[in-house]
Symmetry: C2
Subunit: 800 residues, 2 copies
């Protein structure tokens, strides 16, 4: 049983019955809609009550100077924060002069459901005013996957037992940021009064606003238009103010009569175009949207998502919660990226302002691996975005006295925005993570054009960085000193195994890529001597191993440190970073998130199975998972080494990070990488997929309780379907040509329309490793149940 | 020849002939007067032109919130910055309605001289107005060593060839901070409008002002009163405004006639007393000052300084510049501490706002060792101040999840104010440095009362810190991981040798002290078990040594790192911290300041002579001396291992840090620790003094060019005079009882009035180690000569 029963299992959707005011922010994130360009949080149509009101455009940000108690050379100078653009979601209803507000009157029914196949957020409510007039409201909201700038809302209100006069107000309004800022460094910075009005025009039921940001000097135009269907006579008014567009409509509805409003919203922004031109684009987009109508947009939505699910769907038999959670993950990953053309995929997608809307390494390390096999076009776009920031990355490398490109730890536009360099700039592995995403994308898609135009340069500039970051020591070994690996509870260490292994692959990839594309290599000034240095550095890469302990140290000094005193660490002191200084975390054996274990997943080719087992057993009792980026990786490696039950528990945690709000910050936005991690834990954990060399390997094995796992992989023109049961796995080419793969070290050459069914070796019987006390995976950890209080039970607040 | 000839050699003073507007700020620091409570920068009497106007009260500060790009648990929350209190130095002269301003008219003569025996800053100038009226002005300024709150200025103006009407204005005024703040983290933060007026009263020629600070809520009263001698009739006016007191006097002087004004200023501040009470104190102090008169104060000044010089004077025969520089150092060290009762000795003394007026570890490590042998009362006060901040240090330790007390890296009032923890809080050695100052003070003075009341608790609480900071590893060794040593170009390292050796001594000192004082131990809750743990930790302290390289690594990983590429580092990239990121500095072999070499000085008992030689040779080519805390220590160890010429060059650099403005930031205040370092380099370098065990050791040896070195040491009631020549050393008890010492491993037991003359072994002939290119010691480095432009040669600026 899920400990939070608010979202009952539902194979193709997420439904909330009733509404909990305490958890509004979480539900706004879960019900967020996006298409990679526009993102709307799942705010109530009437705008209030609200956790965080959010309407975001990918890449639209404001910047502000970063302050330091003590400044140092090369510290990031400016922060960038995603901007809340004019909110076009708002539709307010007044019934017999009483505003529909779930605080008032009686909310007799309330239900929302996000449908994964149509991408629509549906809402149904029945409300009775204090004076006893009842209405039923049904709304459907979508962010179009076909018209990139467009969102649409269908709002139907029906009079129930009595005749009622209703007024609908549809707004497009600038929401002011809320004051105050907490101490949690993971939350967003609030900037006040970011948007300056430049334009406000209306025509019939259309209003278009134009704004610019103060410091980043970006322009945005936002517009709305409406279609109304109502049998009764309609009185209406359209207003346009600098920060507000509003269309008010009033009608009298007979019992059973329905008024239907369809609202179309469009957003265009630019760093170069004038507000006037952007306004033209908004007007054009609104015209196209009106032509499609809500139903037309919905039909395209179903088609696009249908094609995605055909490739990407993951079927999990035997665990309804997991089935739902994995599809929830696949849905959000797709909509965060579908139309991201030329933009990043931020850590929270477009679902909230957590981490200021920045993109980190987790996009390349978690999100892109999933999309590479299911929606490869979005990966091309995401990596082309990285490529578009190369100048900033090269400038950053130069500033740091390094060569090549140093990509930022966190950014919106490409500049380093990390205000704490030991856990930011020093985490150079982001560069190898980007390179590995390039390698994987090219390997899986065979996209030569991408490799020539973007990929090769990304590999070359990151390889140059690594060559300048490391050095050959007196014994010839290539060391990389003073960097920070994925585990943020260590910093500035020598020879972090993950970093060194990823750098090694980065150097090898650049070597091979420039070998494949000599003309690109020439264009980039790469000569044989440089290639040879990359090869030599990769070959000599130092990977520390402690013979005595029989494990890989996370870095040179890790094993010498004092083990963390878990026995004296009370539950309320997690996450540790909010209760202990970095000083203490860095100098002791305690791990925030999979680091060496992540290396064993993505660079599994560098470890023997015995090493993986010993390492996993060693690091498991040290890892507190204070990061959402850990459980999925632990699931993958647990599954590989044979701890299948543990893997399942970690998969549960990764997949329920947001649905169960395990870290209590889903309100700031969804954890895209954890969602992707849930998919990875399924496909690479129980599906056993690896992509180390030139061919795919599978070592599938299901835990008890899962009967069947079925997933698809798009490999160039081929759609490969993999079906795993307890005893055997079937590989089938559903579309396209043949494919070569390994199944448990057995070579399998599948031809078109061919299938192969192969046995799965039984799991070994291993003693399960332990976790730090109280840090067992989510399902195992006893947890306070979250009380769902239906709104009707709450006292009515008669605020004016 | 000194490369800057502005301050000609002068055995008992520092004189400036002419005035350089470019270097006003430097001269203001050099000519600063203080007594440990009040500090006046050497600003011109007329207040302008000015580098930085400064009037400081020890401990009087304002606080402000420290900002961070990304905040973390335990980051220092508030900064503290020394406040510029109302400026009572200002006396303005108007001659025939034309203001004496060195920009205007013709400055025919200008000379200032700081006298080390009287503690008086003298000024003499002859000025002719544009209309041709000439006056001679002679001023003398002192900050009283007897009346702690009082400063006095004698201002004499004499009409020369013609009769002139003059007006003198004596101000007490709040100076507004200048806007703007550079990128150099070593400079001070500027806060605007810190002082709020509470009180402003006048009576005859007396004005008293009362102010409070906004955030730190401190109160200060400042007052001035005047005595005038003039044969002519005097017109005068006294004004009192919230931020200004002013007395204006006008008289007509016949040729040759002199008007003499004596101005007395007094400051009292408190965190608890009311402004009104402080005003009473100021009025009382002014009354006392009036009773003493300028000459009375001057006489006491000479007496107090005479007693100091009798104990503390250092005679250096054979190098006039060095003689002057060492006395300059001894003078400033004394006046920074003389009346510091209950307060810290900041890094800049009270001579400027550099480092925000904070005190660091260098007080205990450099300044106090000098004062311990020459003015031990001030050391008692300085350590009692540390003791008074124990509650803050204990709270800090608790916040950091440590035991005992964690003293701040930088502070005014006791709270941690470091805005960059890897080079602040992580530099825990400050605690052992404090403990070592306690140990030395008690050893040298035998002050049992101090030990019982303050010293023992300081040792105990710091020992507790170390016990909680380190741990016994699997082999039993006691490791201290993740801390920062003195070298700020490394950070967060394991087993920094300096730190571990100092912690070892700290633990031993606490063990012995609690053994000597069982009742104090009981009061502090120390039992045998705890003492035994300290002893065991000290005994098992891990001191890394690299057998292969034959040297001590600065820390566990130092020798594995890449050597800095000095060949590719242009001169203009020094200091490195302003041109390279910490990231690069930390991960390579490059040293900002003596670290392992400092360990070899203060813990010389832990190294063999051969190790010292090998270590010195290894680290010397890596040390860039981007800190003023390095040259002196390098001088000491160079002298010990036998590089006498090099030691002399380092001594020259340490002693001329400010006189020659070697780091170009003397304008922010004097480098007190470098001044103290110059004394240490003399006494411990060429005098060979060490104080490791229970008795003093001397291994004196002079470099070529020095004929004789003579210095005194106050040891309990005994005044020991040491005289060193090229061939022999003479130890003489000048006052008090006998003393035991070692001379080059020979035990010497001196009795009262007894002297012993012993031979000095010849210096070995060693190849000199090299420094990084361009980083040779000051005297060896070619340097742009600083042009002294006499003011008369400058164009007259007729600004209104």
């Amino acid at each position: 049983m899920r400990d939070d029963a608010r979202y009952p299992p539902d194979p193709w959707g997420l439904a909330e019955q009733g509404i909990s005011l305490d958890r509004l922010a979480q539900s706004e994130s879960l019900f967020a809609l996006a298409n990679g360009h526009v993102g709307l949080r799942g705010n109530l149509d009437e705008g209030e009550p609200v956790g965080t009101s959010g309407t975001y455009l990918n890449g639209f940000y404001e910047s502000y100077p970063l302050q330091y108690g003590e400044r140092g050379y090369g510290f990031a100078e400016d922060g960038q924060v995603v901007v809340n653009v004019p909110d076009g979601k708002i539709i307010r209803l007044q019934v017999e002069d009483e505003p529909l507000d779930i605080h008032r009157g009686t909310l007799e029914h309330h239900e929302r459901r996000l449908d994964f196949r149509s991408g629509v957020l549906e809402r149904e409510l029945r409300w009775r005013t204090a004076s006893g007039h009842a209405v039923e409201v049904r709304t459907r909201r979508l962010v179009s996957l076909s018209l990139r700038s467009v969102a649409a809302i269908e709002y139907e209100v029906t009079a129930l037992d009595r005749k009622v006069r209703i007024a609908l107000q549809s707004n497009l309004q600038v929401n002011r940021a809320r004051p105050g800022e907490g101490d949690d460094p993971r939350a967003a910075r609030h900037l006040d009064e970011v948007l300056r009005s430049h334009l406000s025009v209306s025509e019939n039921k259309r209003v278009v606003l134009g704004h610019t940001t103060h410091v980043s000097e970006l322009a945005v135009a936002s517009g709305m238009d409406h279609r109304v269907e109502c049998d009764s006579e309609l009185e209406s008014l359209t207003q346009a103010e600098p920060d507000l567009g509003r269309v008010t409509m009033s009608a009298e509805l007979q019992p059973g009569e329905t008024m239907r409003l369809v609202k179309f919203v469009s957003y265009h922004w630019s760093s170069q175009q004038s507000v006037e031109w952007l306004r033209d684009q908004v007007d054009a987009s609104l015209e196209s949207a009106l032509a499609e109508g809500f139903d037309g947009l919905l039909e395209e939505q179903r088609e696009i998502l249908g094609r995605y699910w055909e490739r990407a769907d993951i079927e999990v038999d035997g665990d309804d919660e997991l089935q739902q959670a994995v599809r929830f993950a696949m849905f959000h990953i797709f909509q965060s990226a579908a139309r991201n053309e030329g933009r990043a995929i931020p850590a929270k997608g477009l679902t909230g302002t957590g981490y200021d809307g920045h993109a980190f390494w987790d996009t390349e390390s978690f999100v892109l691996p999933v999309l590479t096999f299911t929606a490869p076009d979005t990966v091309r776009h995401a990596l082309a975005w990285r490529h578009s920031t190369l100048d900033a990355a090269r400038a950053r490398a130069e500033q740091l006295h390094l060569r090549g490109a140093a990509f930022p730890w966190r950014t919106i536009r490409g500049e380093e925005c990390s205000g704490y360099w030991p856990a930011g700039t020093a985490a150079f592995h982001v560069n190898a993570d980007i390179a590995d995403a390039v390698r994987r994308y090219v390997m899986v898609t065979g996209d030569d054009d991408f490799e020539e135009r973007f990929g090769c340069e990304l590999l070359v500039e990151t390889a140059r960085l690594w060559e300048s970051l490391g050095h050959h020591d007196d014994y010839g070994a290539f060391r990389i000193d003073g960097v920070t690996g994925p585990d943020e509870y260590s910093a500035l260490v020598d020879n972090n195994v993950y970093t060194n292994l990823m750098a090694q692959r980065n150097l090898e990839s650049a070597y091979h890529c420039t070998g494949r594309h000599p003309s690109v290599a020439r264009r980039l000034g790469v000569d044989d001597d440089e290639r040879e240095r990359w090869r030599a550095a990769a070959e000599a890469m130092f990977i520390p191993f402690d013979e005595q302990a029989g494990v890989h140290p996370q870095d040179d000094s890790f094993l010498h440190h004092q083990p963390w005193d878990f026995a004296s660490t009370p539950d309320e002191n997690y996450p540790l970073l909010l209760h202990y200084p970095y000083f203490q975390l860095y100098r002791q054996q305690v791990i925030k998130q999979a680091d060496l274990v992540l290396a064993m997943h993505v660079r599994g080719d560098a470890f023997t199975l015995e090493q993986k087992r010993a390492n996993f057993d060693y690091y498991e009792p040290l890892c507190v998972r204070d990061s959402s980026l850990s459980a999925a990786t632990q699931a993958v490696v647990a599954a590989e080494v044979g701890h299948l039950d543990l893997a399942k528990d970690y998969l549960y945690e990764a997949s329920h990070m947001d649905i169960a709000d395990l870290e209590r910050n889903t309100g700031d936005g969804l954890h895209m990488a954890s969602l992707a991690g849930a998919v990875i834990a399924t496909v690479s954990g129980f599906g056993g997929l690896r992509d180390h060399g030139g061919r795919l390997e599978f070592r599938p094995r299901l835990p008890e309780g899962l009967e069947r796992l079925r997933f698809g992989l798009q490999l160039r023109a081929t759609l490969l379907r993999v079906e795993v049961t307890q005893d055997e796995a079937t590989y089938r080419v559903e579309r396209g040509g043949g494919v070569h793969l390994d199944h448990w070290d057995e070579r399998v050459d599948l031809t078109a329309q061919h299938a192969a069914t192969l046995p799965i070796p039984p799991a070994p019987d291993l003693p399960a490793p332990s976790q730090p006390p109280g840090r067992e995976p989510g399902r195992r950890r006893p947890r306070q149940p979250i009380e769902y209080v239906p709104l009707e039970a709450q006292p009515v607040d008669d605020r004016a």
